[in-house]
Amino acid sequence: MLIEQSAYANRWRKASPAAKGIFALGGFCAAFAAGAPAAAVVVALLIAAATLAGAGIPSGRYLRAVTPAFFFLGISCLSLAFSLRLDDGTGELSLALTPSGMQKVAEVSARSIAALTALLFLVLTTPLTDLIALFRRLKTPEVLLEIMVLCYRMLFVLSAAVHDTLSAQSARLGYATPRLAIRSLGGLAANLTLQVWQRAHALHMAAQARNNDGPLRFLEPVFANSGRDAIIATAAGSALVALAVGWS
């Protein structure tokens, strides 16, 4: 939801999604090309700056979006840094922090952070509908696109249904005791299953009513200045890659 809101309300909402994609891709390439951890960190900082200052994403929201990712990154780094060693003589198991391990952790985490910021840049500035349209232009197979379109829409329809059912149950004391809660949860699951089925049927009817005969076709959104945006994004992306490669 957090990401969703930013995607619809940011300064670069009207910028061409292709351009934003190019910039994010540039960020990715730079993250992988970065030789030194410091280079990757600088790339990450630059992308984050573009997201915050350029697209105008509030920093609080940005932090909330990166925190879970950092948490996972931290855990995996710990497991990389320490190596488990079985001492041959004593047969004792010991945890050791090795210098080569540390080096590796620094490299991996710096790169991951850079890649993460690039991905976040894309999803925080571009609504999924625009991204799907972009995938469509890139000739992604229709089936995948249709699944994306329907899943994305159904996500909201269903979360509304879950919310409605939950509040209706709570209002009639459905979750007052653990026993009741389990019963209500069962009811919720059963009800949702039925609803999913009915919704699918209703959507099928609605598609037919508007003369659909198979593939779902939608209008491609147009973006003013998409040529200019793409040029700027390509330049910025290349600059990131050049910086990452040239750093030493």
Binding site: E4, Y8, R13, P127, L128, T129, A133, V149, L150, Y152, R153, F156, V157, A160, R199, A202, L203, M205, A206, A207, Q208, A209, R210, N211, N212, D213, L216, R217, F218, L219, E220, P221, V222
Partner: protein
């Protein structure tokens, strides 16, 4: 009572249509109904009387188990091509907007119908813009459907059907769940469409609205259309209304009471509250 001229004017006609749902529920039970070209029609009936079922027959989503549906004089052809033809002429707006909208972007959803008609991107784009304009949602074209209010979603649904440029627009309870302002605006939209020559058929529970707005009022009960009344003569058809459990429009009762008190001439037939007020104030009122 049908004159030959009526027949040539009939756009949609149901003749003795019967439809049972798979679970045995009666959807329609020998229902007959005619909709005239360019008219405004209201279908009024209790919950479960078969309005939605009838609408789905109009668009060819359901096929009568017995009886006949005719469009523009010809029986509906239920082949792929025939249905395509029918559905490009009869637009159906569903009762629940969440059942109809399936792209998360307003503009994309509205473009769905025109593209299904085989229009190119450019002409589809024009249709989408015009349709959103017509329902007053032009500034929302980039918004996400799930961030719209209920009434706004309903308008997007209407735009999605309008963009297909139908001859007959069928709306299932378009006013339900809309606030006063939204209703007024929607009504203006409908009036505008009717002015363009689009035939309208809508379901409602509001007899006052039906009397004010419609040319023809069709009464549904138990899967059957029991009466099709001229709205202008509705005041004389109180028995038909009470047979389906509907009261006379409030303005008719008021006009009669005022007439009985000599405050309004008996020949005055206001169709709405505001018309009645205007008559009381205006030079036509008898005494004041």
């Amino acid at each position: 009572m049908k004159s030959p001229a009526d027949n040539t004017n009939t756009l949609l006609e149901l003749e003795n249509v019967t439809f049972r749902y798979p679970d045995g529920c009666v959807g329609l039970d020998g229902c007959s109904l005619a909709i005239h070209l360019g008219s405004r029609n209201v279908l009024i009936g209790a919950n479960g009387s078969g309005k939605t079922t009838l609408f789905q027959h109009a668009n060819g989503l359901l096929r009568p188990q017995s009886g006949l549906v005719r469009y523009a004089g010809a029986a509906v052809d239920y082949s792929r091509g025939g249905l395509r033809q029918l559905r490009s002429k009869v637009g159906l707006v569903f009762q629940n907007p969440d059942h109809q909208l399936f792209s998360a972007s307003v503009q994309e959803d509205v473009s769905f119908g025109p593209l299904n008609l085989g229009l190119g991107q450019e002409s589809a784009r024009e249709r989408v813009a015009a349709a959103l304009q017509a329902v007053g949602m032009a500034s929302f074209s980039d918004k996400a459907v799930h961030n719209l209010s209920f009434g706004q979603k309903k308008r997007v649904c209407i735009a999605g059907v309008l963009a297909m440029d139908p001859e007959l627009l069928v709306l299932d309870e378009p006013m339900a769940g809309l606030d006063h302002g939204m209703r007024k605006e929607l009504l203006a939209v409908l009036d505008e469409l009717n002015g363009r020559g689009i035939t309208l058929l809508l379901a409602t529970h509001d007899i006052d609205f039906a009397y004010r707005w419609a040319d023809r009022i069709h009464l549904m009960t138990g899967g059957r259309c029991v009466a099709s009344l001229d709205a202008a003569k509705l005041a004389d058809d109180g028995h038909a209304l009470s047979a389906v459990g509907l009261p006379l429009p409030a303005v008719v009762e008021l006009q009669r009471a005022l007439g009985a008190h000599g405050l309004l001439s008996d020949s005055a037939l206001p169709r709405s509250h505001s018309e009645l007020l205007a008559m009381l104030d205006g030079p036509t009122s008898q005494s004041h």
